[in-house]
Subunit: 219 residues, 2 copies
DNA sequence: CAAAGGGCTATTGTCGACAATAGCCCTCAT
DNA sequence: ATGAGGGCTATTGTCGACAATAGCCCTTTG
């Protein structure tokens, strides 16, 4: 009965695996923005058929990570300042809703999860490497989104987060003061815990706009 | 030089055509929610290969209009009350941002476009059929989204609108009083024209929550 | 030398066939 | 009668081959 089912990534159909692998590599920067990808080369490297890889690429296209140029090839997205502005304004809108919903429910379990991820963030801000801090930052935001119990919201958020990660990795733009990070996030947690939807929403939106500003101004 | 290029739908690659056709049929209700679709049957009906149809179906899957059941087939989404709640809350968040941006720019051309679509809406509310009113309603909302000049916002909005249309057509849920429709939309236009982002955003969000409530309560 | 035209190549677009599998139905034992 | 077990069928999953095309290079011509 102690059957673990961790290796789910191994038992997936081939196209889903290809999708998962390619997505990881793009998101973590192993495949750089602007890279040219061809179906044949990828299929040879991954030991899969072209059709299978092609399916995965089309999915990534819908996720906004790659672009198809007809009869010529695929390229990994390159994010311009305008794209960053789009991503952060959109994330602001999405997280505003998430925070509103989380604060409305103010469900004990969800609040605990958010509080936990905030604690991790605080700890990382004191002793952690920049990348660990950034990771904890993402985790905190995601815990709020999860607390909203809103499937479409989660999906939309993940698409945005992916693209932001592409940019972060390609530019090493981790320019925030650890102390300010804590100061920016703590009030959000408090507003959710206090069951104050409009404040939680407002703070979340503003936080994203501020972060977006920082990034675009440093480009 | 008087070369018209209307028939763009004719010159598209086959997979894009299949995508376009299937999407239209699902969104306008010709293919009912819950319908079972099989790649072979569709490919025969459309005179295309299975692979081509399959590509289109995967795209529709990413758009959230169909769901794939492994080794069994595809089904058109059926929207539950929870789905409607998700759609309208999400649309509220998206349109809030759109209205904020539109009001911030308060760009002459965009405002004119929004005002024009509002006039159409007002006219349809007086003399039009319910379906024309609903269409003008959608057009008004979209004109605001377009005014934001935000590509990802537009795409996200279109996905949401599509799914709402599926539900509208499947349930004939057009339950609004024409007079109230005008009363709900007019202040939004005014706030955008006045360059009042926070009011425009707030009104847009609230409008969507109200509409969502109406629909879910009537299920 | 510049510009237009044609062909070559790399790559996606499309196709039909075979493999794998989920779910049904039928059998058979109890 | 009923439950388990096995095989059958419909459908997706995967593959390799051929068709169409965009973009480059090379030639040719003025």
């Amino acid at each position: 009965m102690t059957q673990v089912k961790l290796p789910k990534i191994q038992k997936m159909p081939a196209d889903a695996r290809a999708l998962s692998v390619l997505r990881s590599q793009i998101v973590d920067g192993s495949i750089a923005p602007g890279s040219r990808l061809t179906e044949i080369q990828l299929s040879e490297e991954m030991g899969l058929s072209r059709a299978t890889v092609r399916t995965a690429l089309h999915q990534l296209g819908k996720e906004g990570l790659v672009k198809l140029v007809p009869y010529t090839g695929w390229t990994v997205i390159e994010l311009t300042p305008t794209d960053i502005w789009e991503l952060y304004t959109l994330r602001g809108a999405v997280e505003r809703l998430a925070a509103q919903l989380a604060a409305t429910k103010s469900d004990e379990k969800s609040v605990a999860a958010i509080a936990a991820s905030f604690e991790t963030l605080r700890r990382e801000c004191e002793i952690g490497k920049p990348t660990s801090i950034a990771e904890a930052d993402f985790a905190f935001h995601k815990s709020i989104v999860n607390a909203a119990s809103h499937e479409r919201l989660v999906m939309q958020y993940e698409l945005i987060e992916q693209q932001i990660r592409v940019y972060i990795h390609s530019s090493d733009a981790l320019i925030s003061d650890p102390i300010e990070i804590v100061a920016q996030h703590e009030p959000i947690l408090r507003a959710i815990r206090d069951g104050n939807p409009s404040l939680a929403g407002e703070l979340s939106e503003r936080h994203n706009l501020v972060e977006g500003e920082k990034l675009t101004s440093s480009m």
